[in-house]
């Protein structure tokens, strides 16, 4: 048994096999290889070994999961022995005089392409099988075994680092937990782990050789166990059981009001990163969506999402929430969230750079596309919109002018929309300090504590070395929050918190005393916060 400590992101326990994720696993170099016969022999040796491995997997699966589920490995082995596949590899090796790795990668891509282009969902999905077997051979040839796909079993994903777009693309139903070496407790992957209630550790020196081994992520102690012994396994299973018991207790708070003991109602909303998270919002009984991070629509794609695509997502969320509030935050990319097709370029200091509303104001057409989709969707539920990274009254006025243009366009096209509440994120010290002025312009404030704390304390949230200097309860931050609430209330704005601090149970009481109107937290935290509000004396 090996044991490593890291910083825990979410208090829960995961037990399962390790999937080691490494970036660029399909990067195969094309090299000139004049001795084609030697390359062919290399290929054949690697292929035979891959077939052997697949047959072993088949035997193992046969015992563990039965014939029907094991059959896939037998089919994979047969695919590798397919005549057309082998002819293609051989042909590429000889005709292009290239290395076996490249010939296999190209062949795999071509066959995958053939399946991907078929019009039936089942056959389309076979592209993944061809990729899988080709990666296995390439892995053997290049002595790197990172290429195995995430597979059908739920796994603990371990990686050097995970970019937000990479985490987004993972099949969430197969994720048990995350362990990464880089990244900090405020990174987007960490936020995602919290949203999905998955145990996650950061700052663990990860090793590729763990791939396939049994592991335990203990999110309570911040410990990763590789090849755990029976005693540890037993202890952790018990912990997992207790966890479930606690969730069950919390479930009893479902359907109860979020009121303070002195009878004040708090709006308890949830933060989501995509429409698929709405299920978790409903399951955890949130009273609305306080932060719909719309940038995930952009991160998942290779090009700008169309108005129609966005409209469908917003409409779906509005309809699923059935009249409960859905607050959509307009595009917040830049800084740690990069999207290639925006061509934002490298910046010395991206957190303070060209991002969020700044991009939207410079690229009004991109902004208007999103606003049109949001306003159109408003006809189907209770939608509000909020704007990120505001620093001045002027910006808000420019936004409002663009919103008026959008409304006029919709009027001209006879497209219905409702009155959409407009608010701003308070996440820069500038916005907090002039919140009295900003409050006259908008309907509500939502305090983004993650950015507000990094800008207030000048601490980079992506740098794990700074975690030691980071005081999440810094009095400067709490004073700013109090000021924003007071200023908002003085000018008729309601004020909420949608950052991580909103779910900090040790601060719930203080926020209530400050007069907070709304808390928006990760879906998995909703019931715990409700309990804290109901108990706050």
């Amino acid at each position: 048994m090996e044991q490593y400590t890291g910083k825990s992101i979410y208090k829960s326990v995961a037990i399962g096999p390790v999937y080691f994720y490494s970036r660029g696993e399909q990067q195969v170099k094309r090299c000139k290889a004049e001795d084609s016969q030697a390359q062919l022999e290399r290929y054949e040796t690697a292929r035979d070994r891959a077939v052997e491995e697949l047959q072993q997997l088949y035997q193992k699966a046969l015992k563990e999961v039965g014939e029907v589920n094991a059959a896939i490995f037998e089919v994979h082995a047969m695919m590798l022995e397919d005549e057309d596949y082998n002819d293609s590899v051989k042909n590429i090796i000889f005709s292009q005089q290239v290395n076996a790795e490249y010939a296999v990668a190209v062949t795999g891509d071509n066959f995958a392409q053939m399946f991907a282009e078929m019009d039936d969902e089942y056959f389309k999905a076979r592209a993944a099988d061809v990729k899988d077997i080709s990666e296995r051979v390439v892995g053997i040839l290049s002595n790197k075994r990172a290429g195995s796909s995430i597979g059908r079993e739920p796994v603990i994903v371990i990686a050097k680092d995970l970019a937000p777009s990479e985490t987004v693309q993972m099949d969430k139903s197969r994720l048990l937990g995350f362990v990464t070496e880089l990244g900090s407790s405020n990174s987007h992957t960490a936020i995602l782990a919290r949203t999905m209630n998955l145990p996650a550790l950061i700052g663990v020196p990860v090793k590729e050789e763990w791939s396939g081994k049994l592991a335990i992520v203990d999110g309570y102690q911040g410990i990763l166990y590789i090849d755990p012994d029976e005693e540890t396994l037993e202890k952790m299973r018990k912990k997992q059981q207790e966890d479930r018991e606690r969730s069950r207790l919390l479930q009893q708070l479902k359907g109860r009001l979020t009121v303070t003991p002195d009878g004040r109602k708090i709006n308890l909303y949830a933060n989501i990163g995509s429409v698929s998270d709405v299920a978790a919002v409903l399951e955890n009984d949130a009273e609305g969506i306080g932060l719909f991070r719309s940038e995930f629509l952009y991160l998942e794609k290779d090009t700008y999402p169309t108005e129609e695509e966005q409209f469908q997502s917003y409409k779906l969320a509005a309809e699923m929430m059935a009249g409960k509030k859905v607050i959509i935050r307009t595009l917040d990319i830049g800084a740690d969230k990069q999207v290639e097709y925006f061509h934002l370029g490298q910046e010395e200091n991206p957190a303070m750079g060209y991002r969020a509303i700044r991009i939207c104001l410079e690229e009004p057409e991109v902004f208007k596309t999103q606003l049109r989709a949001i306003f159109r969707a408003s006809a189907y539920g209770e939608i509000a919109v909020m704007y990120p990274m505001i620093t001045s009254v002027e910006e808000v006025r420019r936004i409002k002018a663009i919103v008026e243009e959008v409304k006029e366009e919709l009027d001209a096209r006879n497209i219905p929309y409702k009155n959409v509440e407009q608010g701003i994120m308070i996440e820069t010290p500038a916005a907090a300090v002039i919140s009295d002025m900003l409050a006259k312009e908008v309907d509500f404030f939502s305090i983004g504590t993650n950015d507000l704390s990094q800008y207030t304390m000048a601490i980079d949230r992506q740098n794990p070395r700074l975690d030691a200097f980071y005081d999440p309860h810094h009095p400067a931050l709490l004073r700013l929050i109090r000021m924003v609430i007071d200023n908002g209330h003085a000018h008729g704005c309601w004020v909420g918190i949608c950052g991580e601090l909103g779910a900090d149970l040790s601060l719930t009481k203080e926020f209530l005393q400050m007069g907070i109107d709304e808390l928006s937290v990760a879906p998995g935290m909703v019931l715990q916060v409700r309990e804290a509000v109901r108990k706050a004396e």
Binding site: V75, D82, E83, F111, M114, F115, M118, D120, R126, D129
Partner: protein, 82 residues
Amino acid sequence: MGSFHYVIKDEIGIHARPAGMLAKMAKGFDSAVTITKGEKTVDASKLMAVMGLGVKKGDEIVISTDNTEDLEILKKFFEENL
């Protein structure tokens, strides 16, 4: 050359598993086995090519081979598996 027509009853069509079983069987035969769907004909021993046909439920295909004994075995295979 003998042949027979067959309409696929399996919900997914000729999916990976029966395609694999068929390929294995066809490889064991002395004469070549072909499957025709519409205008495309492929060698039944080639798994990828058979899957590439994308044969779905309700599709009619023609299975051909020279050996009449093999043809009977193939008929039985399709009726039992597809």
